[in-house]
């Protein structure tokens, strides 16, 4: 991923956050078919996106946001028909999609070159149509506010740099082309000038209430007549230092010329009115509605990763101290107590650090809501999406990779699974299809399930196709249902006759399977014809630290996750029998278990397994095997380091671990030893 400059990073981060919130608001509004509660917040979000985008010189994005902001600015005073509400919500979704696309381009280091033209046109047209006949919102500005200068302490005093009588000056100022709101600028100057000067008269004088004065100022400049004790040089410098001023002329005025100039400017007797400030003008306040008020800070992901690495190293270091060969054989009661305490603290630290990277699935689930909503229109089927357990947390990198697979599965369900309303009614089902997306923690895994009440998978057809393609050779009744269903995750497999835009291209499910695999997970498919299907995804919670049992085979130390170790035995060699296939087995309490001699299995030389050794029973998925090793070395918590990409994957080995003494141990994966 390309790294951006900090401004862009921040812009993308905040905009994405805002877009997520915006989408949620729109979905809420759509559900209620009423937008009144959401108006203030949507207005504010668009305003922020507009502001931020303009800072980044992203005009098109800014324009769209601006239009919607204008639109929402007007909505409070208008009563909207439900059709209008629907249109407004649709435009919002369109805008969200537009923004998302542009954000994507920027994230990939490209340019946000999408044109806002069409969308802006649409919104403008809509805005016009609903504002026709609307009563003016802004009351006419009262016309007694000419020459309005708010009171301040030095209203009547002026800065006397010397004890000289003040001189009169006549200045003509031009603003920068991009100064904007020149009338307000002019007012600002006058307002600030009163700290230094008095008897201030200016032209055009209706700068406060008349925006038309902007043009006059731009064309002819802004004229100020004033008296000050400061020198011409000082005044000149003052105006030069003011921002947004392009050009200035400051001339000292002789007394005799003063009055004529005064008359020229404007034949008005009063010069400066000091009117008390009316109560502060009422500003349209925008209040947040339902913005989640949680105490969060945003942290660089890299730092979190660094933190995690450090904690991992801390665990290793703790091991290195506690299991130090120097201490071997010593009886150290106090030391043991202290090291137990240390272990407790480190465990807690570990738990918390792990949880820092954990993120709830709610964002992802919300995206699915959006997908269902869009798909509903495209496939013309009413479908209801039920979300269960969206607060379930998963590791951050899982969140990033789980979105696409889920999206594909849900699209599949909507496109192929759920029948059209007529067929459903015929089948005695509810017209509205139902998809349930649920997540929960079970054991050390996250279980995500997508269940639909559609027509289910056609087992025969899948089998036939798989058979045709040579993916299955045994007869259908020799296959378990799971086996047949799993075929749909094979590349190039698709039983859909026409390839629809969304799925059925045969490219989807196998990519889904790969994605899940890359997370170390698995997919299970269950289905009943006519009733529906359920796809279950299991993903291990990232356990970077494993409680391990070390076993030694010659010079090699293997680590077994303690969770998978059932028992260990010392068995004499004559209890080892072989079956007809040559597979060695041992009978334990009436059951035969297969034996795997690790030295033979991995071609490790130098062990004494013909004479003595230890059998360790490991279990996976209700299946048990016995591993034969030289000896048990001990128990230790180890940090799992994944296999480098230059190392070929070996069945039964899931990674490496650094032991307390710095040695490298291979972590065994029980599932790789099972026979079934």
């Amino acid at each position: 991923m390309s790294t951006h400059d900090p401004m862009m990073e921040m812009y993308l981060f905040e905009t994405n956050q805002l877009l997520n919130r915006l989408e949620q608001l729109c979905m809420d509004a759509e559900r209620k078919q009423d937008i009144s509660e959401e108006i203030p917040e949507i207005f504010r979000i668009m305003h922020t996106i507009k502001g931020n985008s303009m800072m980044m010189l992203l005009e098109d994005i800014g324009k769209v946001a601006h239009r919607i902001e204008d639109l929402f600015d007007k909505l409070d005073d208008i009563s909207l028909s439900s059709a209008a509400i629907e249109t407004i919500i649709d435009y919002n979704f369109e805008a969200i999609d537009f923004f998302k696309r542009e954000m994507n381009k920027l994230e990939l280091g490209g340019k946000a070159d999408g044109s806002s033209f069409d969308l802006v046109q649409k919104i403008e047209a809509f805005l016009e149509s609903i504002s026709n006949g609307e009563k003016p919102m802004v009351p006419p500005v009262s016309s007694d506010q000419k020459y309005f200068i708010p009171p301040s302490d030095n209203q009547t005093s002026f800065i006397a740099s010397e004890q000289a009588t003040p001189d009169a000056y006549f200045a003509r100022l031009f603003f920068d082309d991009d100064a904007q709101m020149e009338n307000v600028r002019a007012f600002t100057i006058v307002h600030n000038l009163k700290d230094k000067a008095e008897d201030i008269v200016y032209f055009p004088e209706d700068i406060v209430e008349n925006e038309g004065s902007i043009d006059k100022i731009k064309e002819d400049g802004f004229f100020i007549l004033f008296k000050t004790s400061e020198s011409q040089e000082e005044i000149h410098q003052y105006f030069s230092n003011l921002a947004y001023i392009n050009n200035q002329e400051v001339n000292l005025i002789e007394d005799q010329d003063y009055d004529s100039i005064l008359q020229d400017l404007k034949p008005k007797e009063e010069v400066v009115q000091a009117e008390p400030v009316a109560s502060p003008p009422k500003v349209e306040e925008v209040s947040t509605v339902g913005a989640s008020k949680q105490n969060f800070i945003s942290v660089d992901v890299q730092r979190v990763d660094q933190l995690m690495d450090l904690v991992g190293e801390l665990v290793v270091a703790e091991s290195m101290v506690v299991n130090n060969p120097d201490l071997l054989g010593l009886k150290l009661n106090n030391f043991d107590k202290a090291s137990r305490q240390l272990r407790l603290v480190i465990n807690e630290l570990q738990d918390i650090i792990m949880s820092v990277r954990m993120v709830p699935l709610s964002m992802t689930f919300q995206k699915m809501s959006r997908i269902v909503r869009d798909m509903k229109k495209k496939v013309n089927k009413p479908v209801e999406l039920e979300l269960v357990g969206e607060e379930t947390e998963v590791d951050k990198n899982v969140i990033e990779k789980i979105g696409d697979p889920l999206m594909h599965i849900i699209r599949n369900a909507m496109d192929h699974g759920i029948e059209d309303p007529a067929s459903r009614l015929e089948a005695g089902k509810d017209e509205v299809g139902k998809i349930t997306l649920s997540a929960s923690h079970v054991g050390g895994d996250v279980v995500i399930s997508i269940k639909d009440d559609g027509k289910g998978l056609d087992k025969e057809r899948i089998y036939d196709k798989a058979f045709e393609k040579g993916l299955i050779t045994k007869p259908m009744d020799a296959c378990s249902d799971q086996e047949i269903y799993q075929m749909i995750m094979n590349a190039g497999f698709s039983t859909k006759v026409e390839v629809t835009e969304f799925s059925g291209r045969g490219v989807g499910m196998d990519v889904v399977a790969k994605n899940i695999e890359s997370l170390g997970g698995a997919i299970q498919i269950n289905s009943e014809k006519g009733v529906g299907s359920e796809i279950t995804i299991l993903i291990p919670l990232t356990l970077a630290i494993v409680d391990g049992m070390m076993i030694r085979v010659a010079d090699t130390i293997f680590t077994l996750p303690i969770m998978s170790v059932k028992e260990s035995f010392i068995v004499s060699q004559d209890e080892v029998i072989s079956n007809s296939d040559g597979q060695e087995m041992v009978m334990i309490r009436g059951t035969c278990y297969p034996v795997i001699r690790l030295d033979k299995h991995y071609d490790i030389k130098g062990s004494h397994l013909d004479h003595e050794g230890i059998f360790v029973m490991i279990e996976h998925d209700d299946e048990q095997v016995l591993l034969f090793a030289d000896e048990l070395v001990g128990e230790q918590q180890v940090v799992v380091k994944s296999l480098s990409k230059y190392i070929k994957k070996v069945k039964g080995i899931s990674g490496f671990a650094l032991l307390g003494d710095g040695q490298i141990s291979m972590i065994l994966d029980p599932s790789g030893f099972m026979m079934a």
Binding site: P6, M7, M10, Y11, F13, E14, T15, R44, H47, T48, K50, G51, N52, M54, M55, M56, L57, V138, F148, P150, S152, D153, A179, Q180, M181, N183, V184, F187, T188, H191, N192, V208, E211, N241, L242, A243, Y244, V277, P280, P281, V283, E284, E285, V286, S287, T288, A291, S298
Partner: protein, 117 residues
């Protein structure tokens, strides 16, 4: 070193201003996300200058400006505004803001305005 309080509900704007002003003789001593926080921060930090966004939740920039000026009539507040927000900016200037900066702005402009206060 002038002490600066940045008030804006957009994280992006706050960090942009911070970046622009950091090495220009300004020390950002505080940040606030809405008017209420702005007032609180002003009370405790007593900054030399405040940059104030106009539209914010809970309490907007204009109200906050009013309150701050009531507390400290000498307060120096610069409004940050989007183009086209005439009315509000004018109100702010009349209330007593020292100057205003229009979005989008360049570093140059910001520095000049901030230095001229």
């Amino acid at each position: 070193m002038k002490r600066l309080l940045i008030v804006d509900d957009a994280m992006f704007m706050r960090s942009t201003l911070k970046m622009m002003l950091r090495n220009q003789g300004f020390e950002v001593v505080g940040e606030a996300q809405n008017g209420i926080e702005a007032i609180r921060q002003y009370k405790s930090l007593k900054p030399d200058i405040v940059t104030m966004d106009i539209h914010m939740p809970e309490m907007g920039g204009l109200d906050a400006l009013g309150e701050i000026l009531k507390m400290d009539p000498k307060a120096k507040v610069v409004m940050i505004t989007a183009a086209g927000d005439q009315k509000h900016v004018m109100d702010a200037m009349q209330l007593g803001a020292k100057n205003f900066i229009v979005k989008p702005f360049t570093e140059e402009k910001v520095i000049k305005v901030m230095n001229s206060i």
